[in-house]
């Protein structure tokens, strides 16, 4: 009761959510907004720092003057990174690999998920268990390595495309989405004489664009960021994906750092170049993901509820 009275006294207005708002709650709103702003800032802090470093001059870096704002503006680091043929090659290679992998993975995932939505599919239960089992038990690192070795896939493109081409989790998300499409649509199509394939292409796929976008994002980010498979299976430098390239570059820095700690080497030269390298690997993701936000939230939620 007291809140209502108080609210009346301070010319209370009703907020959008139907809550009664007075000065006190408004102050609380602002405090929460400020806390959120600080968290947001913490989220961006490392990125801003690296961005500033990549745009600064080497001398300013060595004098430890750079925080969040570049000193001695220049784009030298970026031009020299773009002049590095190996890096540019790796960047292009990874981009093409990512696109190829994403398309192939989506194709395989749809092929796998769609038939399993037919509840009269003969042998469907068995296939379901066959597939779900791999989600909980995997052979392990060494057996997978030996498989690649025996299939003669080490040091080829295929060892980065094939082993991960269907993620069971993503398949389940897709299947759940298909389940959400009313069965009456399928029945109507069947009565009109459409076979399963035609139903899939003309009815299910057009209705599933949001989930396809989400899974495309998940697969693409997974491939762009993936490096453990390349680390284990790839020795040829021209097949290095960007993350592995980056790992090698940064690992040298880290070792140099450790060496400085122990009092050996001088701080690494080409610091700004390393930072520019990191930025180049990050930007494609930054450009893509905000546009798909609406979709991947839906995708995550389906996966969580129905998985």
């Amino acid at each position: 009761m007291s809140i209502v009275k108080e609210a009346n006294r301070s010319h209370a207005a009703k907020g959008k959510d139907g809550m009664i708002r007075n000065t006190q709650t408004r102050i609380a709103d602002w405090i929460i907004a400020i806390i959120c702003f600080i968290i947001m800032f913490i989220c961006l802090l490392p990125m801003l720092n690296v961005l500033a470093r990549s745009l600064s001059s080497a001398t300013a870096l060595q004098r430890n003057e750079v925080m969040l704002w570049p000193k001695g503006w220049n784009l030298d680091a970026y031009t020299s990174v773009l002049g590095n043929a190996k890096y540019v090659h790796s960047l292009w290679f990874t981009a093409l690999l990512t696109i190829g992998c994403t398309v192939f993975s989506l194709f395989m995932t749809i092929c796998c998920a769609y038939p399993l939505t037919y509840d009269h599919l003969r042998g469907g239960k068995f296939l379901n268990i066959l597939i779900l089992f791999t989600m909980y038990f995997s052979a392990g690192t060494i057996p997978h390595y030996l498989l690649m070795k025996n299939l003669n896939m080490l040091d080829t493109l295929w060892c980065m495309v094939l082993p991960g081409c269907i993620s069971v989790y993503n398949m389940i998300v897709m299947r759940s989405f298909f389940f959400g499409i009313p069965e009456s649509l399928r029945e109507a199509a069947e009565i009109d004489g459409a076979g399963p394939l035609r139903t899939l292409v003309q009815i299910y796929l057009p209705l599933s664009l949001p989930i396809i976008a989400t899974l495309a994002l998940f697969y693409a980010v997974g491939r762009w960021n993936g490096f453990s498979d390349a680390l284990m299976y790839i020795k040829k430098e021209e097949l290095f994906p960007i993350q592995l390239y980056l790992y090698n570059v940064l690992q040298n820095t880290a070792q140099a750092e450790a060496a400085t700690q122990e009092g050996f080497a001088t701080p690494g030269v080409g610091e700004t170049i390393k930072m520019a390298t990191v930025m180049f690997a990050t930007v494609p993701i930054l450009v893509v993901y905000p546009w798909l936000q609406r979709y991947f939230i839906a995708g995550m939620t389906i996966g969580a509820v129905k998985g």
Binding site: C43, P115, M300
Partner: protein
């Protein structure tokens, strides 16, 4: 989805478990009678019994899942139909399909198997075929001769397991895995909940959207990139935080060893994990929040509950099922280990605390060619992992919440 799958599966599981144990016993008695090697017989029998029980447990859980599913779907459908005043049976199409002969069925739905062909080949070749090399865990370390010709390792094939548990480096890896995962659980688990509560209280809609977009950002960065970012921020000599620290505490102050001191490194590792995943983790909680009825908030407000009491008595109870499920699943994965994260974050000075099981497997198996040892360790990890997950899931089902299986 399928009628009575659940109870059928459960029956199958029970029989499988029973027959497995029985078979193991018979086998043990038979071997003792014939060969007199008691130790060998008992070990084999125990392994066989445990194996069949494990398989049975997994199938049983699938059965539980299906039963839950079926009852829930049936109840929901029934309630829905009754709410709309419909009482007749649902469409009869599936039943006619079930009665169809094989040839007609294949003519009409054969395309489905065509679609499934590639995925099934994928699962068989890339998921099931490599399982044969699990046998290497019990054999001599030899990958050049064909697998079935490789002789059994010492101690009835358990040489590598015994060796691993006697190795200091493996025990360190095991304890590191558990320590890091536990710390991650205790600190990392509540983070998205708190963040979601905070976001939920944020009244400025557009600002909320921007905040969310930025909070999701770190999830999309790889651990390699994050380690690059973190080194620049936290390095001893030229990291930003240490530059700041020196400016505040005077240039003589010793650096804060975020990455070079083992116990500091652990916390850095945890904090960066939170930084990466807390924002992403809120999605699930925010979705759960939308299902809480606004009337509850209004009623609470009318009863005089302030912001915090509403959060405590309305929001948190609304989130409880989600929290319980996610917590149990995290507990089930306590022995799992990521690969990218520790590998990217680690450096020479902290290997004692950063080496986890996956790194151990990589180092021993692929770098030092100890294939058998590494396979044995990997097998230990995945078997214990599956058992923990199944237990967690059964527990979740018992509690009336729906597990993930």
């Amino acid at each position: 989805m399928f009628k009575n799958t659940g109870s059928k599966l459960r029956t199958v599981a029970k029989w499988l478990g029973f027959l497995g144990v029985l078979g193991a016993l018979v086998w043990a008695v038979y071997t003792i009678a014939n060969e007199g090697d008691v130790v060998n017989a008992i070990v084999t029998a125990l392994a066989a019994a445990a194996g069949s029980l494990l398989v049975a447990l997994v199938i049983h859980t699938f059965g539980d899942m299906a039963v839950n599913d079926e009852t829930r779907t049936a109840l929901a459908v029934k309630a829905d139909r009754e709410a709309h005043g419909i009482f007749e049976e649902p469409s009869k199409a599936p039943k006619t399909v079930r009665r169809m002969s094989w040839s007609i069925y294949m003519r009409r739905y054969g395309t489905l198997y065509l679609l499934l062909l590639l995925p099934i080949i994928f699962f068989l070749v890339f998921r099931y075929y490599p399982m044969q090399w699990i046998a290497l865990a019990f054999k001599k370390n030899d990958i050049l001769t064909p697998l079935w010709q490789v002789p059994l390792a010492k101690n009835n094939g358990f040489e590598w397991f015994i060796k691993a548990f006697n190795m200091k480096s493996f025990r360190t890896a095991l304890s590191n895995t558990l320590t890091l995962n536990l710390m991650d659980l205790i600190c990392g688990f509540p983070a998205p909940i708190i963040l979601a509560l905070l976001l939920n209280e944020l009244t400025f809609k557009r600002f909320k959207k921007v905040t969310q977009t930025i909070l999701y950002l770190p999830h999309f960065l790889s651990w390699i990139i994050i380690s690059g970012l973190a080194t620049r921020l936290l390095a001893d000599t030229d990291g930003m935080l240490n530059i700041l620290h020196r400016q505040i505490a005077g240039s003589g102050a010793s650096a804060l060893p975020f990455l070079s001191n083992p116990s500091w490194w652990r916390w850095t590792y945890i904090v960066l994990g939170i930084w990466k995943e807390a924002g992403w983790g809120t999605i699930i909680y925010l979705a759960a929040l939308t299902s809480i009825s606004p009337e509850l908030y209004e009623a609470a407000a009318v009863d005089g509950a302030g912001r915090f009491r509403r959060m405590w008595h309305v929001t948190l109870p609304g989130l409880r099922p989600t929290i319980v499920i996610l917590l149990i699943m995290r507990l089930g994965g306590i022995l799992g280990s990521e690969f990218d994260r520790p590998l990217a974050m680690s450096n020479k000075l902290v290997t004692d605390v950063s080496n986890v099981i996956s790194i151990y497997v990589y180092n021993y198996g692929l770098k030092s060619y100890q294939y058998s040892l590494a396979t044995a360790v990997g097998l230990f990890q995945s078997v214990v992992g599956v058992i923990l997950l199944v237990l967690a899931n059964t527990f979740a089902n018992r509690m009336g919440e729906r597990g993930i299986m």
